[in-house]
């Protein structure tokens, strides 16, 4: 798993590549919480993500909740395949704002 952080409009975008699992989800957690703690809304780009386990999903839940408490947001972009199925299995696709592509996110 690798990730790249960049600025997109007024959001911080974290693009995940590969597989998020028990071993690397703490890194993702650290990065996501830091983005929100510093007062930014976050977009998590799933386009190149092939797998995410429950520790990764738990990290998204924690980040979403922190963002909400700070009147910020967490948006998922480009989820498909297995990662989308995990979001559906846990019903979080009905909680997190989900967008097909970055084009759908307006300033």
């Amino acid at each position: 798993m690798t990730f790249v952080q960049k600025t997109h409009l007024h959001y911080q975008l974290l693009a995940l590549t590969g597989e998020v699992d028990l071993h690397n989800s703490p890194q993702v957690r650290k990065q996501l919480l830091a983005i929100v703690e510093s007062g930014n809304s976050v977009i998590v780009d799933f386009s190149s993500l092939s797998y995410i386990d429950s520790s990764g999903i738990a990290t998204l839940v924690e980040t979403y909740n922190l963002a909400k408490n700070k009147q910020l947001s967490l948006t998922i972009v480009g989820a498909r395949g297995a990662p989308l199925q995990v979001l559906e299995l846990t019903n979080l696709n009905k909680v997190f704002p989900m967008k097909d592509s970055l084009d759908e996110i307006k300033a």
């Binding site: 028990l22 989800s25 429950s54 520790s55 738990a58 995990v86």
Partner: protein
Amino acid sequence: MTSSNKSIIDVNNLVTHYGERKILKNLNFSVEKGEIRVIMGGSGSGKSTLLNHMLALLTPTSGSIVIDGVDVVNANRKTLLKLRQKMGVAFQGGALFSSMTVGENIKLPLQHHTELDEHTIDIMTRLKLELMNLAGFEDLMPSELSGGMLKRAGLARAVIMDPKLLFFDEPSAGLDPVTAVELDELILKLRDAMNMTIIVVTHELESAFKIADKITVLFDGEIVITGTVDEIKSSKDIRIQNMINRRARDEHLDAEQYIKRLTTGKN
């Protein structure tokens, strides 16, 4: 039997005994990644013994069991431990620790085997409780749950580490029909969303037909057939037909052996 790259379990020429009694008689089969394989058979057919061998809890007389590339019969403790972290097991009665709450039981593997933050562990535990329809029960003790709830809590613990391979012993035994159907649906969802390979040991025909990609039927320690649901249904084997039509088996009686068993206690 040749193993393919796609298989996650390869059982070759497996022979086991309890004392002098031969339990499994030269079993050969493979399970592919992402498959739901049901192992069926009546009481005493050897299915629980086979399960215990696949979990490397028993040592066979001869033959090999290779799981995810690991020869479990000859593997050392460290290799087995690593393999077991990729495997989840849901035992018949749930097998929860009675002195811990449901939540503590479910998160136990994460606390032992990972260095995840406690917040992450708590959310993961609640996600699994939600999935098993047990939201809000995390602070109860196992003794306060019904049989069906215990079974679901046991399943929650079995999948807490998102295992690649899930073994499930008698999922629907003792459950009411509605709960049993819900559990079957959950097994299908877990496979699809988590890419799990799932081995279900059961004697419940209805459940097997609903969830199985393939069914392996054991009878007196031998594999009668491994096939798809349709292949099982159209099998001409009288033992399979009896199983499907729920007929008592009419065993051939070997008079000489029968008298020997009665007089000497030996087969």
